[in-house]
Amino acid sequence: MNSRANSSPTSRWGLRVLGLGYIAVLLVAPLILLFYKTFEKGLAPPWEAITSADGLHALKLTLITVAIAVPLNTVFGVICSLLLVRHRWRGNWLIDAVINLPFAISPVVIGLCLFLLYGKNGWFEPGLAEAGIKVLFSVPGMVLACIFVSVPFVVRETVPVLQEIGTEQEQAAETLGASGWQTFWRITLPSIRWGVAYGVVLCTARVLGEFGAVSIVSGHITGETQTLPLFVEQQYQNFNLPGAFGAAVLLALLALVVLTAMNLLKRKEAA
């Protein structure tokens, strides 16, 4: 257990320098450079880009995808975790494996799958077209893509917590007269809340930054189907570097807020 305490100061410092250096060069330096480049010519250029009609629309659309995808995946994730942990049956390994798919498959592939399902001659296209619902190249398709890529987070964070708390508290609540619903709201959910919250934070970060899958199904219609990551890419392609940097910084700030929330949760959980 105490190998670290026994190791020599040289190797200890060597490891620290290596670890911190790696993070500094690969993670921190690009971010600092991004902030520097963005504000090189003052606040005005990036501010203009973000507050342009297209920029604001991209921000709004990003927040909409988060507002739909995250709650859906949270509810689904909690139900799915309960199914996996509390109702053991033979098919569980399959559910478990399928939930991990979005981790394993490239988002671009996921985008293509959606394209095949909802695009022209796709499986679901005729029915939806009749109902007058347009999925591809519009918001529903982008939300679907975001849901797809961020499914695993809540499940993965909730399952171990559910396993750890065990079933005794729930059984105790039952013997005291609580119905299944009451037991869930008063015992199970409060016991797993930090795990769920952690999953929600990770899920939010993923949806905020999703590019590949959304890029395929969005059709890149400026001012209509552009989320912030897509807006950044477009500004970059159009050589509008201050705009690209401004939007990128905004995205990075949103992610930072989310990650700070996560660290606060972690601390609260530990307390």
Binding site: A172, A173, E174, T175, L176, A178, I187, S191
Partner: protein, 345 residues
């Protein structure tokens, strides 16, 4: 409210936890389900609470068949070995949980919770969280929580199993007194025969999913139905087909027709009790329990020849022993199992 279980069967996969179990628990009694681990005692208790569904058989509480009733409707108080405290709630909220579910008014809940916290000797700890309590305090809180809803019956699953020896002894006495005060029909599960005999008026000895014997502590000790019960409720030596308790072996200095010759192997002083380990001519090892005075009178020494006379020896030839494990060695069963007096968890 009397409890009876009638022909209960329960399997988990290939493992038969309950094999045609029937018991009767009289109204107002304090009954212990006693047995080694895996004997089915906890499964039986959980089946009475409705936490396990029986494959076959019935559970009756106060004459009413509750087999189909969900746990919530059975009005049983259940106490778990590891307390099952609601960790995110204070002691007050824990104890008041069942009342809140029953939609009691706030003031009534407060009065009842205060009353119970006094009863379990935890006044003033209402605002603590379970993590701020000791094991014994947590278990008393769990008991208050179970009692708050005025259950028809109280079921305790190894309630003191996770506590250290001193706290355990205190709680035993306390539980006995509490039962006298409340007079609610209580069943508690334990693997510790001393605890069972100390607390309970009636004991049910279980082994391998079956009831071996039920009765008072004296019945089980003096008139065990078979070898398993005899070796589980006390220590035992095997002499041929006979079984005899160590304190029922008399050691004398002169031989006669009723004695057997033996060599004194070891003399161990355990305070007041002296344990004398002997080997018979045929190689059988036995041990005898003597008092300090007896040892001094006999002037026994290790390596010496002495003569034994078993009194109150029992033989169970009529009914084959259901568990022939380790009846004769002084250090518990040969496989280090749990049939001995010290029955480890």
């Amino acid at each position: 409210m009397g409890i009876s279980v009638d022909g209960a069967n329960k399997s988990f996969g290939d493992f038969q936890a309950l094999d045609d179990v029937s018991i009767e628990v009289p109204d107002g009694s304090l009954t212990a389900l006693l047995g080694p681990s895996g004997s089915g005692k906890s499964t039986l208790l959980r089946a009475i609470a409705g936490l396990e569904t029986l494959d076959a058989g019935r559970v009756l509480i106060d004459g009413e068949d509750v087999s189909k009733k969900p746990t919530q409707k059975r009005e049983v108080g259940f106490v778990f070995q590891h307390y099952a405290a609601f960790k995110h709630m204070t002691v007050y909220e824990n104890v008041g949980f069942g009342l809140k579910i029953r939609k009691w008014k706030k003031e009534k809940i407060r009065a009842r919770v205060d009353e119970l916290l006094n009863l379990v000797q935890l006044p003033g700890l209402a605002d603590r969280y379970p993590s701020q309590l000791s094991g014994g305090q947590r278990q008393r809180m769990a008991l208050a929580r179970a009692l708050a809803v005025q259950p028809q019956v109280l079921l305790l699953d190894e309630p003191f199993g996770a506590l250290d020896a001193k706290v355990r002894k205190d709680l035993r006495t306390w539980l006995r007194n509490l039962h006298e005060e409340m007079n609610v029909t209580t069943i508690f599960v334990t693997h510790d025969q001393e605890e069972a005999m100390d607390v309970a008026g009636q004991l049910v000895v279980m082994n391998q999913g079956r009831v071996e014997q039920s009765g008072s502590a004296d019945d089980l000790y003096d008139k065990p139905a078979n070898e398993f019960v005899m070796s589980f409720v006390g220590e035992v030596n095997r002499l041929g087909d006979d079984f005899v308790r160590p304190h029922d072996i008399e050691i004398v200095r002169d031989r006669d027709d009723s004695t057997e010759e033996a060599m004194v192997q070891r003399i161990v002083a355990l305070g007041f009790e002296i344990r004398v380990e002997l080997m018979l001519a045929d190689g059988t090892e036995v041990w005898a329990q003597l008092t300090r005075g007896e040892l001094q009178r006999l002037e026994l020494r290790e390596g010496q020849i002495a003569y034994l006379r078993p009194v109150h020896a029992k033989s169970f030839n009529g009914s084959p022993p259901s568990n022939p494990r380790g009846a004769s060695t002084p250090h518990g069963s040969p496989d280090g199992g749990d049939a001995g007096i010290t029955a480890a968890a």
